[in-house]
């Protein structure tokens, strides 16, 4: 096939196929959406905008000027979201290029694309490069300047799609937030899908509009491994924490601790383990959470040995480590400020545990029976053969418990989430103003650990 000119009807059929291709890939476009507002709706907004153009156009309109006018008006009215508004302005400029024509040549189309991006740029008060705007401009300029006049639309669209893709793949180099997120620009990708659909139509491949969503092409996303490596080499801050219990280790990793050293009461880690972790995280400033009174000194020792900026926050329990992480804000400019936030509520944290007594004893006025549940903070506060009673009594014995506002319940090995929630519900009745949260800690030694703040 060789299409040397397009009239209104023919262009509308290309646009229709463009729409179908965009719609099938709308989820990919949504997933790429990080700029300017990462609300994941670029694909939807662009499709709805383009559909407005299609719905406002007559399939029987032969004059390209008249078809263009109707299509452009339709997209302007249907435009939604930033990407839709920019697309509608591109269409408007593109369609201005059809003025005075009954049908157009490939040359006319290239000039119209130039008019399209000019209009789109003027619609945005501060045009940002690395977006759909760049993809429009680079494609149009390259088609105009780097090629001989195109003999037919098939050749034009084959080259247009190639140029557009090249420009799209370069967007992360122009816009930092795309690079950080490991994606290409979403609006640019939407535009590519429109043009690709038009190219397919020219080669006789018409989509039927009912086909299923396609999977996202990998090339639009930086593989996780590369993204992680990129991030790691630029880390400004990293947190190294000691923790014990598989759940606790996973938990600290999930909230942003870069390296967790398996340690704790029965298995104190060495200074070397810390130093190795400092090397591994490779950050400008390292913050250490020892999370156990017996590990603080080791962590400090390691900080001295290591040739780098290491700060030890003397957390004496994993509950204190939790409190520190919950307040952390790694967007602050200096490590001193980060530490100030992390330590802000630390003096208010009470760490309490429920464990099992290993022998009979009389401690702190509490009668402890071997095998019974013991509630303790720094002191033993309660003992009962019933775990709930031991917990309630322990809470009642904590000084200033009425002033505490939030308790995070870490439940240990052998305790189910349902058990933990039932315990929280019982505590809630005694402390109606307190907020409770639950985390599976899978600690070996303790049935429960409470971070009471």
């Amino acid at each position: 096939m060789s299409t040397a000119s397009l009239n209104g009807e023919a262009l509308l059929s290309l646009f229709t196929n463009g729409y179908r291709n965009l719609k099938q890939n709308a989820e990919t476009v949504d997933a790429l959406n990080v700029f300017p507002i990462p609300d994941g709706d670029t694909g939807k907004n662009m499709s709805m905008t383009w559909l407005g153009g299609l719905e406002n156009s007559s399939t029987e309109e032969v004059s390209i000027e008249k078809m263009a006018k109707a299509f452009s008006k339709g997209t302007l009215l249907a435009a939604r979201g930033n990407s839709g508004v920019i697309l509608s302005q591109f269409v408007r400029g593109l369609m201005n290029g059809m003025k005075g024509h009954e049908s157009i040549t490939p040359e006319d189309f290239v000039l119209a694309m130039e008019s399209g991006y000019t209009k789109a740029y003027s619609a945005v008060s501060v045009p940002t490069e690395g977006t759909m705007l760049t993809v429009m401009r680079e494609t149009a300029d390259s088609l105009k300047n780097n090629y001989d006049p195109f003999a037919d639309f098939e050749l034009l669209f084959d080259e247009a799609v190639k140029e557009m893709k090249k420009s799209l793949m370069n967007t992360p180099n122009l816009l930092a937030c795309l690079k950080e997120a490991g994606v290409v620009d979403s609006g640019g990708a939407g535009l590519l899908y429109l043009f690709e659909g038009m190219q397919m139509a020219l080669h006789g491949e018409m989509l039927d509009g009912n086909e299923q969503s396609k999977e996202a092409p990998e090339e639009f996303f930086t593989p996780d491994s590369i993204r992680k490596a990129m991030k790691k080499s630029h880390a400004k801050y990293a947190v190294v924490a000691a923790a014990s219990g598989t759940g606790m280790i996973e938990y600290f990793k999930s909230v942003g601790v870069s390296a967790v050293i398996d340690g704790g009461q029965t298995n104190n880690p060495s200074a070397k383990a810390f130093v190795d972790a400092f090397y591994a995280v490779d950050a400008d400033h390292i913050i250490v959470l020892p999370n156990d009174g017996n590990i603080v000194l080791t962590a400090k020792q390691a900080a001295k040995i290591f040739d780098g900026d290491v700060h030890v926050i003397e957390t004496k329990s994993m509950a204190e480590g939790y409190s520190a992480m919950s307040m952390a804000d790694f967007s602050l400019p200096t490590v001193e400020e980060v530490i100030e936030e992390m330590t802000y509520y630390l003096p208010n944290v009470t760490t309490a545990y429920i464990t099992t007594a290993t022998r009979d004893a009389q401690i702190n006025g509490v009668d402890v029976k071997e095998g019974a549940y013991v509630g303790l903070t720094d002191d033993i506060l309660s003992c009962s053969s019933d775990i709930t009673e031991a917990t309630i009594k322990m809470f009642a014995a904590i000084p200033e418990i009425e002033d505490k506002q939030v308790t995070c319940i870490f439940y240990g090995k052998g305790i189910s989430k349902e058990d933990a929630i039932a315990m929280g519900d019982t505590l809630q009745k005694a402390y109606p103003l307190m907020e409770f949260g639950y985390i599976e800690g899978s600690m070996e030694v303790y049935s429960y650990m409470f971070a009471i703040e």
């Binding site: 990080v34 700029f35 300017p36 507002i37 990462p38 609300d39 994941g40 302007l76 009215l77 435009a79 939604r80 979201g81 930033n82 508004v85 302005q89 003027s122 619609a123 945005v124 008060s125 930092a176 937030c177 950080e180 938990y251 999930s254 909230v255 942003g256 939790y322 992480m325 919950s326 307040m327 952390a328 804000d329 790694f330 967007s331 936030e341 509520y345 506002q405 939030v406 308790t407 995070c408 103003l433 907020e435 409770f436 949260g437 985390i439 703040e453």
Partner: protein, 297 residues
Amino acid sequence: MSNFAILADSTVDLTPDYLEKYDVDYAPMNYTIEDKEYPALLDWSIHSSKQFYDFMRNGVIIKTTQVPVNVYEEKFEQYLKEGRDVLYISCSSALSGSIHTATTVAKDLMEKYPDRTIRCVDSLISSLGQASLVIEASNERAAGKDINEVADHIEAIRLTRNQFATVDSLEYLKRCGRVSAASAFFGNFFGIHPLIISDKIGQNYAIRKIKGARNVIPELAEETAKAAINPEEQTLYISHADSEDQAIALRDAIFEKAKFKDCYISTIGPIVGASVGPGTIIAFVIGNEVTIQGGAS
């Protein structure tokens, strides 16, 4: 006497009596509940504020869209036909793309009406922060300033509006991507309430965390009172998402720390409301120019 029209949009959160008092019009954005689209009106004549926030409390997802092209065309042209210029003071461009559409429409209409002026000013804030700029513009107009003087003035002072907000749940802000902070900031923690400012590019930025619900009002009041310059000469603005008790408690806590001329409290409209969720309270005062800029936008 200047007679240009002042136009805001649905995020200005002024009650109808104030819109009338200051002779301010607004261009509605839209919100969608279960695939049905409604204009976001400030008189709550479609859904009451209670109904609206109850939808959100019950998990209904409310989507919002910017001011449509034809709405701007109609609003602008209505005044141009009367021979009046139009000053449009928009919602922050970091929260809505509306101003881009408005700018394009304005450009076209000024070709059609070469003797008329439309000025589109990005307020870089929303809710009653935007309202306080709109009211200042109205007062300047009443003092006889022309449209360009007023528009330039608003552009020059817009960053003096300091916002201090907190939300009940971060889910809404996260869902629509409208809060800037590292993801780990909002990890799996309990009892954390963010203190959210409007930064120098007009995006909501969680600047600090407050732990414990009972600490929220005192800390918010502290920050707000501290930021206000000459509070005795200004109105304290507080908006809330169906949480008037909290708004009043915040006003009282701020009044204990600083003496303001008066206080205006209103309900957060459907557009800002849909992105912050029920229980949100926001205080606005005039303070130093905002210089902080959040992370990735």
